[in-house]
Symmetry: none
DNA sequence: GCCTAATCGAGACGGTACGTCGGGTCTTGCG
DNA sequence: CGCAAGACCCGACGTACCGTCTCGATTAGGC
């Protein structure tokens, strides 16, 4: 009715959140600090998000929009490519510090879990479907057998394996995800796919 | 020469920490509350651990000591077994609420990361080695080729895949790890192993 | 532009401080307790005062505003009156427990000393001037000789003698200040005044 | 029966207490710190004194042993002399920071009050009696009338006036006690004495 | 010249209060 | 009305001292 919310403010806040994440990390990131960086009052933050976690989810979510699955000619190459770019994403300081924290927080907050899922996790799942379809078109994988439930379960499994392994490698083992590792992991996954799809 | 630290206090504190984790979860767990439950002064906590994260790591770490790899007759069955028991462990409320939080925090604190690794992660790696040796004895896997570096890389990969996938399934996807899922995942892993070992 | 500090909070805090002083005394008075009594957060206390001492000074200072010098017809009677009411003030539990403590603390904190002086000590000095003027009007004391410096020194001396003696009697010697003692002390002071004014 | 307490420790502790008072002041003086300075365990302190206040009283008390009343030939001169030396004593940093603090603390601790009185206050009262006797011998004051009660009251009054005024001047007004001020104050006191003794 | 018991150093311990910090809400005027 | 500013309540933080308590290692006496 009266004054509309400033779209510029939204952008400024999310930018400020990301840069604060880079400089301070999740635990030392402060609502007051983000507000100050964005040249905005704390009230404005709380008018838009229920709290720190939700705001950070939205700030980090946009990073995942750049994930793509370019056609590299073979399933093995496609997997290697997505693993490398996913690992690069997860290793960025903004994401590194906040992803696990938000997931931890979401353990006992269903609303937050939903936001994480819709804003981050599900954004990646279509890549699995896309890669699968492409591999089927190439004849690298057998076509769907019409059992939708079985397909869903397999896709979820692949997703857990890829995302879980890469995140564990990056954040827990803290070892680099380079081409060599990606190739070996893709090889493993190819073998596994053959086993569960046969 | 002076008074030694009370071993009883250590035990009481770690017990209190676990029960507080179960009842309150990571974020509502308070140093003061743990101290009160343990019948101990807050100072005593800080004399032993630099902070909440380190204390919780030590409290949760002991849970992982009960992980075993009973011989179920085949590599496939062994994998299924360890996946199920590892998932059960990760799903326990003490672990569920704290593991991700601690890993998140460890992103910015090398000392904490080292503690997590030595107290939790590395403690489980011997299971991979044990399962591998057993499978080799059974003839399910080819014997070592004497390339220690290659072996280490493979073990690390297997570990990242198993731990990462199970954790992701339990804490991010929030789906149950039942026998069916374990069997499929083990199947996938068997195929993958064959691919990277051949 | 922003929200102004609550005047109600100020009043509530100082009231709470006085009642806590009466019930607990200086050393057992706690910032947290005062905050609770005032229905206010601890932060609000620290936003207004640097610490316990400063807050107590302000809380006790208002007690001294009620000191007056009613005209009793003669200098001797005026002195007796002010001595009695000053002693009564100093003996009140709020003042008794805190005055010395604050002065002790102010020994190595110039800012606190200034606050004590401006909030408590200097507020009473006008009583000496008033009594002196009245006595001069009555012809009991010779008129000013125009030497402002000499006058100031004399007033300060009288003040140190009256305040110091009464405080010492009440808080160190812990003997009652009754009419008999006040009469004798006033007599002494009259003789002294004659000696230094002659 | 067995080992006696170390006299060297006592001395070291009191010395350490005084030097800590000079450097840190009352409020920042710590039992642990005194123990460390004295090369002694905290236990040793508490074996000898009930607490910080009592220990400090004993440490400061010895300073008052050096107070004397040399015969300067006249009551006026004797008063000036004792005022100057008492003021010098009270202004020493060890005494300055601790005297008021201890008195404040003694407000609600009778045992401490007694210790202060016997260790510090009463040590000075004999000076009043001595000066009075000397003045009577010189004929400057009338001899005792045999009314012991009246004498006691007068001595107490003189004591409160002298001690109270000097302490107030030094610690509250924070003005120097020099020869000029001492002469004026002694003059006032002489006049007062004449008035109450007549 | 041993025995034995109190004393000593060191420092861990249970408490209590401190002063600070961050989260999230509420109030005030400006635009 | 939306907003920047910032006061407010709440609750946890990590620190500092207090005075007590265990330790094992000295020391004197008394025998």
């Amino acid at each position: 009715m009266a004054r509309p919310r400033s779209a510029a403010a939204d952008r400024a806040i999310l930018d400020a959140t990301r840069s604060a994440l880079v400089e301070l990390g999740w635990s030392r990131l402060t609502m007051a600090d983000v507000a100050a960086r964005a040249g905005v009052a704390k009230t404005t933050l709380y008018r838009r998000w229920p709290g720190k976690s939700e705001m950070v989810v939205d700030a980090v979510a946009v990073l995942f929009d750049e994930l793509e699955l370019p056609d590299r000619g073979s399933l093995q190459a496609d997997i290697e490519g997505v693993v490398l770019s996913f690992a690069a994403l997860v290793s960025r300081p903004e994401a590194k510090t906040s992803l696990m924290a938000v997931v931890a927080e979401s353990t006992h907050r269903p609303a937050l879990r939903d936001r994480v899922r819709s804003a981050i996790v599900d954004r990646q799942k279509h890549l699995v479907l896309q890669g699968r379809a492409r591999a089927q078109a190439r004849g690298e994988l057998p076509p769907d057998k019409g059992d939708a439930e079985h397909t869903r379960r397999t896709v979820d499994l692949i997703f857990d394996v890829v995302a879980g392994t890469v995140v564990h490698r990056c954040l827990v083992s803290d070892e680099p995800v380079d081409e060599t590792w990606a190739r070996t992991f893709a090889l493993l996954l190819m073998g596994g796919l053959a086993a569960v799809s046969g």
